[in-house]
């Protein structure tokens, strides 16, 4: 039970970070990345292969990667981040060009499916469908025999990273870079007329999203100790996308909230339920429920739970009273939140 709870907590952080990264790309930047999961997977494989040493054993065979290298904590995570970003830098040029968003979405989805099928059906590459197992838990020996202490320490570590990712995303969102990203989302041509290089800004955003995705993969795989193509089906991207939409597109708080509802309550908690019906029935019902909730959110709550916050808010600050150059306007500032009234021009 303790393991399940800690696993659920880690999953929450992983989903929250994934939703934050997807929100950065899709919510703020308008990049329809239906292939998000492959960046997470790249991070997971990268962390696994650089920490597994010579103990990688799949179901069917044993393999050694990078001459049996087993990098110390936290290097595998750093490698995961870099690989996620590198993959985005490689795929980005093909999909970030001036491409209609529906084509962009289709291209990313196709890439995700092809990658999954390719790895799953090539046994000589990343151990094919059997995947990588026996991935050592980082710093496990520090906690001795106390499994629970280690698990909850890992949960704390996950929350620390998750908090950092949240702050990073929030910071990006309120910065001038974040505004440039949102300008591009709303109207690329108008943004370009203001000096914003769409290609450059989008690529940076795409790579940052890829890096965060890589981190989530690395964080997850170091806890669960195994990774295979069945863990990164393209549907996983839609879980994150649903979290973003349910939470509110463009809102970091919304992304975390959506991850809690979709990633934890809809996807993880049913595993605590007693088995009913034939094996796999609950799994099937889970996906049906997720689909129904997806449709319900789009129908009843299209704006999501949280609204995107403006990067600039007047708050209590108000401009000084002034008279325009024509002597027409007189402005009076009222209201505690900086709400203003304008008496308008003299006629």
């Amino acid at each position: 039970m303790n393991f399940y709870l800690s696993l659920t907590a880690v999953y929450f952080v992983v989903y929250a970070m994934g939703a934050l990264a997807l929100n950065l790309q899709f919510g703020l930047g308008g990049i329809v990345n239906f292939g998000f999961i492959i960046f997470e997977s790249a991070g997971a494989y990268a962390a696994a292969l650089t920490s597994v040493g010579s103990s990688a054993t799949g179901v069917a065979q044993s393999e050694t990667y990078f001459w049996g290298t087993s990098l110390p904590f936290p290097l595998p995570l750093i490698v995961a981040v870099l690989v996620g970003g590198l993959l985005a830098a490689v795929i980005g040029p093909a999909t970030m060009r001036k491409m209609r968003r529906d084509y962009q979405a289709a291209a990313m989805l196709a890439i995700a499916i092809i990658a999954n099928q390719l790895v799953g059906n090539t046994s000589s590459f990343l151990n094919g469908g059997n995947g990588i197992a026996n991935i050592p838990a980082p710093l496990r020996s520090v906690f001795g025999s106390s499994v629970a202490a280690y698990d909850w320490a890992y949960v704390a570590w996950s929350f620390l990273l998750g908090g950092g990712v949240f702050l990073l995303c929030r910071w990006i969102s309120i910065s001038p870079f974040g505004r440039a990203v949102r300008l591009l989302r709303d109207d690329e041509e108008a943004a370009a007329s203001l000096g914003i290089n769409a290609w450059s800004v989008r690529m940076r955003l795409f790579v940052v999203g890829g890096m965060i995705a890589g981190l989530t993969g690395g964080l997850l795989v170091e806890f669960i100790g195994a990774w295979s193509p069945s863990a990164w089906n393209y549907q996983e991207t839609f879980v994150l996308l649903q979290a973003v939409i349910l939470g509110g597109v463009g809102s970091e708080y919304g992304a975390v909230f959506g991850a809690l509802i979709v990633g934890v309550i809809l996807l993880q908690l049913p595993s605590f339920l007693p088995a009913i019906g034939y094996p796999g029935l609950i799994d099937s019902l889970q996906w049906i429920l997720i689909g129904v909730v997806y449709l319900a959110v789009l129908w009843f709550l299209p704006q999501g739970t949280f609204r995107e916050r403006a990067s600039l808010r007047l708050g209590g600050r108000a401009p000084p009273e002034k008279v325009g150059p024509l002597g027409q306007e007189s402005i009076r500032i009222t209201g505690p939140s900086g709400a203003t009234t304008n008496e308008g021009p003299a006629q």
Binding site: W171, R179, D187, A198, R204, L312, N342
Partner: protein, 276 residues
Amino acid sequence: MTGILGVGSASLTEGGATPGTPLSGTEIVVHYGGVVAVNGVTVRAAAGAVTGIIGPNGAGKSSLIAVLAGAQRPASGRVLLGERDITHLRPHQRSELGLLRTFQTARIFSRLSVLENVIAGTKSPSAEGLVSALLTRRKWRSHERASTERALGLLAEFGMLDQAERRCGELSGGQRRIVEYLRVLMARPSVILLDEPTVGMAPWLVARLADDLATLRSSGVCVVLVGHEMGFIRQVCDVVIVMANGEAIAEGSFDEVAENDLVRQAYLGRRAGPPS
């Protein structure tokens, strides 16, 4: 002097390109498939002057503006900003040189607030730099504060201060045009291309815009303006170019072109009087 929008004409030169830069398009040709939208038109817009481009619908005015702004690549012809050939520069590169534009249909960023839309015209130190956005927070925050003050001042003078925190997508057509115009001013441009700027604007705002253009002109800014409102064109333009069927058929002061027979024919048919 308290110059354009109360910020002083000197501020137009701060940080942006230098006012006093003319814009010219030479022998511009634009094709859309087999249709010739602009056929060898030459425009010379002087610095410190407002150049109007008028003509009936379908004359090619907006296509010409698009070529000058870099949104449309001409089949042939050259665009010069001062002495520099900018024909092959993309819109964002022209913007960095101080050439800013508005659109025929106001293009605003609908999910951003009005204030953010206006601020969008400023080029922040970390506008495209992700790392600098994260590491030089104090610097861009300071820049943001100054920009916010200026944007609020602009909004106030156009009677939109109380709309500052509203989503821009909720604004009326005339208000959107104001926001679009104000964000251009925020960029401290040396050349401004205005495509039908008065459509949907309240009369007092049109008058206000005319005053602004006069101030911009005296500050050395080059303004190219496409319009249909002849009273406004007559009031603000130093030179008017009349287009019809993709060609420039007349050029001169408003009164001169109004007397031109070709212009009368293009606008109102052979037996009609001058545009009014």
